[in-house]
Symmetry: D2
Subunit: 453 residues, 4 copies
Amino acid sequence: MCGILGVYNSENASYYTYLGLFALQHRGQEGAGIASMKNNEIKLKKNLGLVQEIFPDEKSLESLEGRIAIGGNRYSTINASGVESIQPLVFSLHNNKKIATVHNGNISNYKSLRQQLEKKGSIFQTDIDSEIFAHLIARAKGKKLQTKIKNSFQKIIGAYSLVIMAEDELIAIRDPWGFRPLQLGKKDDSYIISSETCGFDIMDAKDVRDIEPGEIVTIGKNGVTSQFLESKPSSSCIFEYIYFARPDSRVLGKNFDKYRRQLGKNLAIEHPVEADMIISVPDSGNTAALGYAQEIGIPYDIGLIRNHYVGRTFIKPSQTIRDLSVKKKLNPVSGLIEGKRIVIVDDSIVRGTTMKKLTRILRENGVKEIHVRISSPPIEYPCYYGMDFPTQEELFVHNPAIRENKDMLSAMERHLDVESLRYLSLDGLLASVPSNGYCTSCFTGKYPTAIEF
Amino acid sequence: MCGILGVYNSENASYYTYLGLFALQHRGQEGAGIASMKNNEIKLKKNLGLVQEIFPDEKSLESLEGRIAIGGNRYSTINASGVESIQPLVFSLHNNKKIATVHNGNISNYKSLRQQLEKKGSIFQTDIDSEIFAHLIARAKGKKLQTKIKNSFQKIIGAYSLVIMAEDELIAIRDPWGFRPLQLGKKDDSYIISSETCGFDIMDAKDVRDIEPGEIVTIGKNGVTSQFLESKPSSSCIFEYIYFARPDSRVLGKNFDKYRRQLGKNLAIEHPVEADMIISVPDSGNTAALGYAQEIGIPYDIGLIRNHYVGRTFIKPSQTIRDLSVKKKLNPVSGLIEGKRIVIVDDSIVRGTTMKKLTRILRENGVKEIHVRISSPPIEYPCYYGMDFPTQEELFVHNPAIRENKDMLSAMERHLDVESLRYLSLDGLLASVPSNGYCTSCFTGKYPTAIEF
Amino acid sequence: MCGILGVYNSENASYYTYLGLFALQHRGQEGAGIASMKNNEIKLKKNLGLVQEIFPDEKSLESLEGRIAIGGNRYSTINASGVESIQPLVFSLHNNKKIATVHNGNISNYKSLRQQLEKKGSIFQTDIDSEIFAHLIARAKGKKLQTKIKNSFQKIIGAYSLVIMAEDELIAIRDPWGFRPLQLGKKDDSYIISSETCGFDIMDAKDVRDIEPGEIVTIGKNGVTSQFLESKPSSSCIFEYIYFARPDSRVLGKNFDKYRRQLGKNLAIEHPVEADMIISVPDSGNTAALGYAQEIGIPYDIGLIRNHYVGRTFIKPSQTIRDLSVKKKLNPVSGLIEGKRIVIVDDSIVRGTTMKKLTRILRENGVKEIHVRISSPPIEYPCYYGMDFPTQEELFVHNPAIRENKDMLSAMERHLDVESLRYLSLDGLLASVPSNGYCTSCFTGKYPTAIEF
Amino acid sequence: MCGILGVYNSENASYYTYLGLFALQHRGQEGAGIASMKNNEIKLKKNLGLVQEIFPDEKSLESLEGRIAIGGNRYSTINASGVESIQPLVFSLHNNKKIATVHNGNISNYKSLRQQLEKKGSIFQTDIDSEIFAHLIARAKGKKLQTKIKNSFQKIIGAYSLVIMAEDELIAIRDPWGFRPLQLGKKDDSYIISSETCGFDIMDAKDVRDIEPGEIVTIGKNGVTSQFLESKPSSSCIFEYIYFARPDSRVLGKNFDKYRRQLGKNLAIEHPVEADMIISVPDSGNTAALGYAQEIGIPYDIGLIRNHYVGRTFIKPSQTIRDLSVKKKLNPVSGLIEGKRIVIVDDSIVRGTTMKKLTRILRENGVKEIHVRISSPPIEYPCYYGMDFPTQEELFVHNPAIRENKDMLSAMERHLDVESLRYLSLDGLLASVPSNGYCTSCFTGKYPTAIEF
C-alpha cells in the first residue's frame, strides 16, 4: 500500500503535499518523498522514514519550489534496495520533457510488460511499477501526454492509482477496475489529488468527487478534463472499508466510519453473545466494536491501552529472557476486565500471532470468558493488488494446527484459547458497504484479473 | 514531570530499564537516559529524543553493563541547555564512590538550599534538582548512604521521587508529602522501582506495593529495608488521577482507569445534559467520557480521529497561509456528528487554545449543540511541584476576555462558542479518588509547603 | 573527474574496492559508492561525502557481498540533484540481466546520442553519462555483452574510462582517444581495474599494464581477453601529468613524479631567476618545485604550511568582518621567508584568486621578491573531457584586467603584485612527458573531437 | 594534549574562537567545544569530532552569543565517557556566578587534591582536571576571581595552561613551571589567548607576547593586568619544539620551523652519512629533514606521498587478509627511491611500529641503503604532563627484542632492518632551541615535579 498526493496551482504546493502525506501516513511508514516542478525543472527529496523525519523543518522543503508538487508514502520496501524504491520517481522523456510519478497498487502483468519493454531495448533501474508507466508513455503514440496514456495503458492489467506531474499539468489515473481509491479535491484555486479525503481535511480543502475507475483526469490551464480507458468490471478493494482507509476519510460522500460501524452491527446480528463488555483491539477494531456494542446493547469499554510511542524500532528481548511477553504496544486495564465476560472485536486476523498474544494477556488478567468477533470473513488467499498480506502459508487459516481439522473454527478457538471466535460472513460484509462491484479475492480466491506468477 | 525507573539484580538490568522507560514515555518525551553499574564503574548513555531514538538497537545498550541500572524520561528542558539536563546524573563522592541519580519532582526550597551549599564551596554544573541531592549527601553525616540521606534530606522541602544507584544497592526515596508516585515491583530475583506500575507490566514484573511518603527504601544484598524521614501531611498530586498516570497503571492496587471513570460518572451526576452522543478528546478524555456516558445513558462514540504519527516536529503553515486550521492531530468524523447534539469530555482545560480549535472544527462540521464537560475543576494556580503548567496569566480562567466578567462560566462558553461548559466540582473530584490527603493547589491555591520565588 | 575501480574474483571484493576508492580519493571528494555482485544480484551503497564517511565501519560493507565489485568517487555534482548522480549506477537489461557501471570522463556527443535514444523510446532517470552506455548496450546487436559494446560504442565521441560489472565478468573500456587513464592490476588470483596505480599499491596488488585506448577488456572465467574499438588519434589528457594523478601513481611503468619533476627542470631552463629559495604551493607544486630547485641549484624549502584538516565545510567570515584574509588552508612560515627573494612554483593557475591571496600573504610577511613559476602553459580554453575547469570567462587569462592589455604577462604580474610570472611553454611541457599523442586543448583550443554545445 | 583559545571583546567572539580551534586542530582531534558569555549567561556547544564536524555551518554558531568566548580541542578521551570529557566545562559558583574553563596539561597531584576536596564535601562529575580548578576557586579566600586563583592555585603541582571566562573578564593562567605554551594576541580592540600563534594568524591577529610561567593574566575593562604565582624552575616541554607545535607557530618571536630546522642541522653534524637523497616522514619530519639536507649537502626529496584524506575512521583488513600492508597513509614514490641510498628523517620514534612498516615498504621498493635519523633522543620514560605517550613497556626502547641487548642501537637497527639508526643527542637537542629551562623528562626520567601514581 501507499498513500499518494498531488497539488496543482499553489504557491505552497510542496507544503500542502507535505501536509497531505502527513495525513496519509497510515498508508505507508517506510519512506516518503516529494517532487515539485518549476520551469520544467523537477526537484526531488525522498528518504526512508516517516514524513516528519524526512521533512523535519522548513528548510527541508525550501528547495522544492514550484506551483505543482506530488508526493508518496511507501508501505514496504520488500525486494527493494533502500531509497531507490521510494517514490516519487523522476524521468526524462524526449525533448527533455520531465515527468514525476507516484502510484499506489500492483500491476498484475508486470513481468510480461517488462519483458516486452526490455526486448525493445528499455532498461530498468528499479523494481517498482512506476517505471513501467514511464516506459509505456515514452513509447506510446500520440503527441499529448494524455493521448499517450490512453493509447498505452490499455495493456496494463492490475491495480494502480497514479499521479503524474508534467510540465504544466497534473494527471491522475485510476485503473479501470478501480482497485485503489483516488479522490479529487479543491482548495481556493488549487486542485488536490489524494488517496483519501483525510488528505484534503488537513489542508482545509474540499472534496470534489471520487475519480472514476478508468478515468484519466488532466488538471491544467483549461481546468479539469477527463478521458477514459476501456471499462472493466468494478473491483474496488473491500479491505479499504474493513481496515485500511482512515475512518474519518470519505468515499462517495460518506465516512468510512459509517460502513465500518455497520460491519460491527451486522456482526452482532450474525453472531450475538451474552457478555459483560465489548472491547476493541485499538485502533483497528474501534469503530466495528462500537457498532457491535450499539447493536447488541452491551456497553463498549476501553480494555486495552495502546502505547502510542511505538515506532518502527524496538529492541527485542534477547534469548536469555525467554518467556517475556513484552507488552510494548497494548496493556490491559486489568481491574476493568478481571472476572468479566468479554467480547473483543477486531477487523481481521492475518497471521493470528497478535490475537494469540492478546488472548493470553487477557487470560492472565483474569478474564472469565473471551469471545472474539472479526468484522470480516477469514482471509484465505494472498492479495495481488497491493495489500501487503503474507504468503498463503503464513495466514492464520493455513496454520497446520488449524487446517488439518474438520471443524476449523473449533480448532481456531482452541488455538486462541477462547470461548468463541466468529467471523462476519461475506454476505454480511457486502451488505454493510455501498452497493458496488468489489474485489473480495482475499476471502474468495476469485481474482478480477489474470495474475502472472 | 519525569518518568523514573530502577532495576536491581538482573543480568538484563539495562534492557529492563529500557523497557520501563518505554512504558513511561508519556511522562517525558524530551530526552531519556540510562546508567548502569558494574564494579563501581558507572556507564551512562543519554540524549534528547524519544527512548526509541536514543536506544535504536541492541548495540546502543551494549556498553551499559552490570546488574543494576536506572533510567529517566525528561518532560521538558526549559531553562536547560540541552543534553546536560537529561537524567541520570552521575557523581563521584569521597573515596571514588560513584552514584547515579534520577528523580521526578520539584524542590520548593531549591534556591536557598543551593545558596547555602555554594556558600560552603559547592559548585554546580547544571540547574536540575538532582545536584542538590548529591551535594547534600556529600556533606551529610553518617557512614552509610541511607544514614546520610536520612540526616540531610530532612531540609528538603518539596516534591521528589528519587532513585539512587550506589555501589551495590538501589535506593528509592519518596518525599514526606508523597507528591509524586513511586512503586516497588519484583520480577523473579530482581527488584524494580518505577514511577508507575505500567513500568512493571511491560516486563512481566509484579506489583509489590506503593513506596510510602517519606520512605527511604534500600534494596541490597539483605533484601529490601526501609527507613523513614519525618512525616508530613499527605499531599499526593491529584492530577495523576485526573490526567497524568496511564489509565492501565495501578495505585493502591486499583487501576487509575477506575478512578478516572468515576470522575466521568460524578461529572454526569453534577452536570447532566440532553444530547445524542458522548465523545471524548482522545486519548486524555476517553475514560471519563465512558464513565459520563455510562452514568447518563447516552451512547459513547468516537467522533474525533487522532493521528498517531504526530511527533515533536511539525512544520507550521507560513504566514502566507493565514487561515489554515491544520488538522494534524485530530480530525472529526464529519458524517457521525453532523446535526447532532454532542457532549465532548476532556480531563482539563489549561490554556483553552486546543479546546477552542476543537469546538470551531466541530461547528464547521455541522454539530448542532456542543456541551463541554471537564472531569476536574478549573485550573487557577500554577504548580510548583513538577507539573508543567504555564504561568498563571496563560491559564484559561485568567484570559482577560474571561477574567473580567462577572459570570466567568458564561464568558468561557461564549469564548469557546458552545452551548454549555461545566467543570467537575472539587468535592466531586475528591469523592472519585481513594480517601487520602491530596495536593489540590492548582485548583485552590493552597500549597502544602512554603514556596520560594 | 572521477576515480573508478573494479575487483574481480576476490572474497574481499568490496573491501578491496573500498581501499582503492580511498587511494583514489583525490580524484573525487563529493561522493562515492560501491556495488557488488553475487548470483546475479547487485547490492549498492552510495552517498554524498568522503569514502570514509560513507563506509565508516565493517558493518557498512557487510551487505556488499560477492566476488566482484566496482566503485567510484565523484568529483562534482554540478547539475545533479544529490545522491542520484553518485556512481555506480545499476541497470536491469533483458531477461533480468543486471549490470552496474562506473565511469570517468565526459561524452562529447551526449546530447545527440540522448535525443536519438529518447526518440526510440528510451527514458532517462539521471543526467550522467553512464545512462547512455546502458541504453546503447540494451539496444545493441549481439548476444554477448562485449559484442554489444563493440557494436554500439563506436558512435560515442568523447572521453570515457568505464568499468562494467556483469553476471560473472568485469569489463573495462577506455575510449579510442585514450583521454582518461585506466590500469590493469593483479593480486593473487584477483584482477583489479583502477584509474591509477595508487589504487593497486594500497592493496599490495601489482601493475599489469595500461589499458589501451579503444580497448575492451573482459575479465572472466577464461582470464583476460581484449577486443578493440576502431582506433582514433591518441589524445591522452596531459593534465594528468601536470596535476591530477597522484605523483606516486605510475603510467607506462614510470611514476608521474618523474615527469612532474622534469616539468620543473624544464621550467628552470626556460625561466631561470636569481633567488634565495624555491618554495611550492603545497601539495600541487611540490614535485615541480623540487625539479626547479635541483636544476637551478637554489635550495628548496617549505615556506607554506598546509592545514590538513581543511574539509569540505568551512564557515566563512560574515560581512561584518570585511578584511579578514582567513588563512585556513595555508599559513606562511614568516621567519623563513622574511626579507628573502622567493620563487614560488605551482602546477597551474586557473582563476588566479588563490595565487593572488598567496602573493598578498607573502608580501604581508615581508618577502622581498616574488617570482611565480608555473609548470604548464596558461589555461585558455575550457575542457570538454571531464576536467572541472570553470567557464572561459572565469579563467585567469580572460580576466578583463588582463585580457585588454597588449602585454598580458606584465598585466598578470601587476595583478598578482609579483616581480615576475613565467609559464612553461607547450614545447617544454611536451618535452617533459613520454612521447605520445596528447590532448592539450585547454592550452591550444584544438579539441581532438567535435564538441556539442 | 589540547588546544585552547579565548577571545575577549569581539562581536564575533565565537566565530573567532571557531577559527582558532580550526588552526589548533593538530593539538586535538577527538572532540571540541565553544562556550560564549552574554549577560552572565553561558552558552555551550561541544561534541566528539573535528571542529568542522561539530560546527558545520553558521547556524551551529548562532546560539553562541556574546563578546567573550573560549574553546578547546581535545586530544584523547581515554578514561573518559564520551562527550562529558570534552571542554569547555561550565560551573556555577556562589551567587549564580557562572564560569567556563578550558585547559591544556595534566595536574601531577590530582588525586590528593581531589581527595582533599571530596573530604570537604565536594562532588565530582567528570574525571578531567578542570573540575579541580573550579573546586579550588569555589573554596578559595578572596573576593575577586584573580585573588581566589592566586590564593588557591599555589597547591596545584603540574602542567596546566588554563583559560577562564567569567562575567566580564577573560583570565589566562600558565603553571609556574611553564610546561605548556600560552600566547597573548590582539586584533583591533579584541584580545586573544591561544596555545600557539597559528591561532592568531588565521584571524589576522597580532602576537603580543608569551604568557609567562606562573602568570595570571586578567583581561577586562581595565585592559590587561598580571599577577604571579610563586615561581618555580622553568620547565617548558621540549617536545613542543621537536614535534607538537605547528612549524609556522612562533615562540619568543621566532617560528618553531627555525628550531626544528636546527635540530636537523645538528643531527647532520652529529650523525652524517653518505647517501643519494634525504627524505622525510611527512609531515612530522619535513623541517628537520630540510635542515639535515642543507647541512650535509645532499638533496632533499619527497619520497613518500601522504594521503591527506586519512581521518579517524578506517576499516582494517579482516583476518582473512593476513599479509596486507595497507598503505593507507603513506605510499612511496617507487621510481625515485629504487636503487638509492636513502636517509629518512623523522622527529621521534615512539612505539617503532610505524617506522618498521615504513622501512619494510622502502625495502620492498628496492631502496639500496636505509639510514634512519631521528631529530631527538630516544624516548625512554612516560610523560606525566599531558603528552599522550604510551606506557613505558610499549616504548620502542623497551621492546624486549631490543632491551635485552648489550648494544641496543644495533638491536634497533636489526629490528628495523636498516643500515643505520642514529638519534640526536640531548646536548644537540638543547643546543638547537632557545636557552631556557626545559622539561626533558621523557628522555632523562628527571621529572621537574613530584608525581602521584
